[in-house]
Amino acid sequence: MSQSSEEGKKFSSVFREKIPVVGSLEVLMPYIIIGLAAVAIIVSVTITPSFLTADNIRAILRNASIVGIVAVAMTPVTLSGNFVSLAISQSAMLAMVSYVALLGAGWHQAPAILIVIVGLIIVGVIQGFIVAAGLNPIITTLAAGAIIFGVVSEMTGGWIVLAGENFVAWGSSNVVGIPIQVLIFLVFTVLVTLLMSRTVIGRETMLVGANRATAQIGGISFTRVTVIAFVIFSVGLAIAGVLNGAAFGQATAVSFPALTIDVIAALLVGGTAIQGGQGSPLRSAGGALLISVISNMMVLNDFSSGGRLAVQGGVVVVVVVLLDQLRRRQVMRL
C-alpha cells in the first residue's frame, strides 16, 4: 500500500514537470506578451500622438527586426537547453565584416551572401559540437566571441572595411512600402516557428530541452539537436550581418556593440525559459517588438539614452520575474 502511494508520488512529480509544457500557462504566455505590448501601445498612443503614424510604425519595426531575427534564430539553442550565446555581437560582426569585405573585393551579391552564410554555419557548428560534447555553452561562446573578435580585429587592423564603389544599398530599400529587414524578419520568424512546432527536429529540440535524460533514453541525439540549433542560429546571425552590411556599405570589428544584450533581453522578455524546453521563436519576436515599442515611445517623449536604458533594464527585470513567478505558480497548482 505504502509502496503504491510512493509510486503515485513519483508519477505525479514527473507530471509536475510535464504538464506546464502543454498546460494553460503555455497557451496564456503569448497573450501575456501581446497584452503587455498592447498596454505599451495604448499608453504610447494616448501620451504621444505621433506614435501611430506610418513612418513611426515603420521605424519601430525596422528597429526590432535585426534584434528580432537574431533572437528568433537563437531560440532553438535556448530551447534545446544550451542557454544563450555570449558571442552574438562578435558573430554578427564577423558576418557583416566578411560580407562587406567580399563586396569590396569585387564579388557579386549572391556568392558573397552564400559564402557568409556557409562561413557562419561552420563557425556555429564548431561551437555546437564543443557544447554538445558537454562543455559549458556560456563559457564556450564567451571564448568563441573573444577569439572571433581578436581574429577579425587583427585581420582588419582596426580599420573600417568598405564595400567599394559599386555598392548598392539594398539593405535600406523598401518593398511595397515595407523595409526589407522587416519582411525578412517576418518570413524568418514564420519559418523558424514552423520548424520548431511542426517538424520532428523541432519537437526533439523541445524534448531535449525539457528533459535531456528522457530524450536520450528515447533515442534522440543531443549532439544532433544541438548542432542543428547552432546551424539555425548561425543562419540568423549571417542574415543580420548581411542586412546591416547591405544597409551601411561599411563595417568595423566593433559593429553591433549592444547586440548580445539586446537579443538575450528580447528572448527573455518573450518568455522563453532560459533552462530550455519552454518557449517559441514567435515569442522571441514578440519580445523584440515589445522592447522596440517601449524604446520608441521613450524616444518620442524625449527620454535621454540613459533613461531609455534604465527603463529597458527595469522592464526586463519585471517581465522576467513576472513570467517566472507565473510559471512557478502553475507548477505548484498542478
Binding site: 559549458n136 564556450t140 564567451l142 573573444a146 580585429s153 570589428a253 533613461g307 526586463v316 517566472d324
Partner: protein, 322 residues
C-alpha cells in the same frame, strides 16, 4: 600524509602550470618583460580585473552568476568621481558601500524569488548601465581636485597602493570564505543546494552575502580605477565580464558551484594579467590579448572537461563535481 598534501594542492596544479609555462614563454620571447618590472606589471592587473574576478568567483561558488559586475563597476566609478569632495578614502567607501547595498538587495531578491540569476542580472546589467549614463550626464566626467589621488601613483618595489589594497581584499575574502559560518554557507549552497537547505543552511543569506560581495568588489575596483585615471566614462567596463569570467575559470573555479578558493582566483588573475602585460610589452594590440584570452579559456575548459572524464571512471563521487 603525502597523499593528503597532494590532494590539497591538486586544484591549483593546472592553473599554476599554465601560469609558469606562460610566464616562461613570454619572458623568453620578450626581452623587455623580465625582472621586477614584470612582477609589478602583473600585480597591476589585480586592482581592477582581480577584485572584480574575486567577487564574480564568489557568486560562481554559490552556484550563480552575476552578469551585472561590469555595469556596477561603471556606476561606482561615476559615483566615486561625483563624491570626490569628501576625499579619496571617503568617495571610494561611499561607492563601495552603495555597491554592497545594491548587491545584497539583488541577492535577496534572487533567493526569495528563486529566479535564475543569469536572467535577473542581465536585466540589472542594462538598468545599472542606464543609471550610469544618467548620473554622469551622458559624458565622461573628471575629478576636479585631482591632487587627492596622487597617493595612488606611489610605488613600493613591485607593489603599488592599489595592488596592496587588492591583496588585502583577497586575504580578507579568503579568511571570510574559509573560516566563517557565512562563508561556509556559500560553499554549501553552491555545492548541493537542496541538501544544504535540508541540513539547515538558510536559503536567502548565502546568496545575499555572495551578491553583496560581487557588487561590492566590482564597485571597489571601479572606484579605484576611476581615482587612478582621474575620470569616469559611462560606457566603460563593458568587457570586464569577459575578463573576470575568463580569469575565474582559468584559475580553476568550477562552474558547477561549491568549488574553488581565493588562491584559484589569484592564479587565474595572474595568468590573465600576465598575458595582457606580456603582450602589451611586445607592443601587441588589445584585440590580440582578447584572442589569446579566448584561446586559453577554451583550452582550459577543454582540459578540465577531459580530465574530469578520465577520472570519472575511477571515482563515482567526482560526478557531483560536473
Amino acid at each position: 600524509m603525502i597523499k593528503s598534501i597532494v590532494a590539497r594542492f591538486r586544484p591549483y596544479a593546472l592553473p599554476l602550470a599554465v601560469l609558469i609555462i606562460t610566464w616562461i614563454v613570454i619572458a623568453v620571447i620578450t626581452p623587455t618583460f623580465r625582472g621586477t618590472g614584470s612582477f609589478y606589471a602583473v600585480l597591476e592587473g589585480f586592482p581592477l580585473i582581480g577584485i572584480v574576478t574575486l567577487g564574480l568567483a564568489v557568486t560562481i561558488i554559490a552556484g550563480e552568476l552575476d552578469l551585472s559586475v561590469g555595469s556596477m563597476a561603471a556606476l561606482a566609478a561615476t559615483i566615486a568621481v561625483l563624491t570626490t569632495p569628501v576625499g579619496l578614502v571617503g568617495c571610494v567607501l561611499i561607492a563601495t558601500s552603495m555597491g554592497i547595498v545594491f548587491g545584497a538587495v539583488q541577492g535577496m531578491l534572487i533567493a526569495r524569488l528563486q529566479i535564475n540569476s543569469l536572467v535577473f542580472t542581465i536585466g540589472t546589467l542594462i538598468l545599472l548601465r542606464g543609471l550610469t549614463y544618467i548620473f554622469s550626464g551622458h559624458a565622461p566626467i573628471v575629478i576636479s581636485n585631482i591632487e587627492i589621488t596622487d597617493v595612488l601613483l606611489d610605488r613600493y618595489g613591485i607593489f603599488s597602493v592599489r595592488s596592496i589594497v587588492a591583496i588585502v581584499v583577497f586575504v580578507i575574502a579568503g579568511l571570510f570564505l574559509t573560516y566563517t559560518r557565512w562563508g561556509r554557507e556559500i560553499f554549501a549552497i553552491g555545492g548541493a543546494r537542496n541538501e544544504a537547505i535540508a541540513a539547515g543552511v538558510p536559503r536567502v543569506r548565502p546568496l545575499a552575502v555572495s551578491f553583496a560581495i560581487s557588487a561590492g568588489c566590482a564597485s571597489l575596483a571601479g572606484a579605484l580605477a576611476a581615482m587612478l585615471g582621474g575620470s569616469a566614462s559611462p560606457q566603460n567596463y563593458e568587457d570586464l565580464l569577459l575578463s573576470a569570467a575568463a580569469a575565474a575559470l582559468l584559475g580553476g573555479i568550477s562552474l558547477y558551484g561549491g568549488r574553488g578558493t581565493v588562491l584559484n582566483v589569484a592564479l587565474g588573475v595572474a595568468v590573465l594579467s600576465l598575458v595582457g602585460a606580456g603582450l602589451a610589452a611586445r607592443g601587441s594590440s588589445a584585440s590580440l590579448v582578447q584572442l589569446v584570452t579566448g584561446g586559453l579559456l577554451l583550452a582550459m575548459i577543454a582540459i578540465e572537461f577531459l580530465a574530469g572524464r578520465l577520472t570519472l571512471q575511477s571515482s563515482i563521487f567526482r560526478r557531483s563535481a560536473r
